[in-house]
């Protein structure tokens, strides 16, 4: 089977999975549905010849699910399943608007290079000289840690900021003093 057919299948699966995750009432099921969508994305990366990303996406997906389950699957959250009355009109308007956006944006995809035939002006240089100039056989590593290492510095900082932000948000109240204390 050509790769496009596989990818259409995977993408259809992802779309169905996402809609299910959003519409299912049970919290655990929707978190797991999202997890499956993420793992399908990791498979799609494998088909698209991106093993680095497949590994990272796979691991980060597991990690995200662990965070979500740890945080949200406490007993007290299930106390009352509170089906908030969904606003039918709002939903309808949203769907119509998004459909219109989809309809009008088909043209731009026609104007882009077709699937499987990218321009690759910049990439040609990386593929030809990347290994000799940096000494790294993995060209993705060569890009993220040499040609565009500044981006990676930013990325490390983003992660650092996110952790620090999460720690700032979660400050436990010490019962004795009554003031917000840093726990870690």
């Amino acid at each position: 089977m050509p790769i496009e057919t596989w990818l259409i299948f995977i993408l259809g699966f992802m779309i169905v999975g996402s809609i299910m995750a959003l519409e299912i009432k049970d919290l655990l099921s929707s978190i797991i549905a999202i997890g499956i969508v993420g793992l399908a994305l990791s498979v799609a990366f494998l088909f698209l010849q991106a093993p680095d990303l497949a590994i990272v996406q796979f691991l980060f997906e597991i990690f995200a699910i662990i965070i979500l389950i740890l945080a949200f699957l406490k007993k007290e959250y299930h106390k009352k399943d509170d089906p908030s009355n969904t606003n039918k009109i709002l939903t309808l308007v949203t769907v119509i608007t998004l459909g219109a956006i989809l309809f009008f944006s088909i043209d731009v995809f026609k104007a882009l290079p077709a699937f499987g035939e990218p321009y690759m002006n910049t990439a040609k240089y990386y593929l030809e000289n990347g290994a000799t100039e940096t000494g790294s056989a993995n060209l993705v590593s060569a890009i993220i840690l040499d040609y565009r290492a500044y981006d990676t510095l930013g990325e490390v900082t983003v992660l650092f900021t996110a952790i620090l932000g999460a720690l700032t948000i979660i400050r436990i109240k010490k019962k004795s003093s009554g003031t917000e204390e840093d726990v870690v």
Partner: protein, 112 residues
Amino acid sequence: MILYILCFILLLVGLYGVLTKKDLIKIILSLSIMGYAANLFLILFAYKNDAIFPILSESAVQEAMVDPLPQALVLTSIVIELGITAMLVALAVRLYQKYKTFDITKIRSLSG
């Protein structure tokens, strides 16, 4: 072409979730769907027919390879998405602690 449109539909599904869902957790999940779609877009743009992954090996002869640059970008983007998920989860947990609910229509001490 059809793949791009399907991917765009995935993005719109995420956007639909953010705009209509009332549950904080569902909103966080919708944002991660949007993130998947954006990442997949970049990698779809990078694929080249009959090319292999951009890692040289000692034995094989030089073959056509896919574009490595979007892969590097998506690596960054995945990490950023994990960061935003962690922060949103922390915020949602704190909001639950304050309001005892995840329903956004009941969390309305601010107006506008």
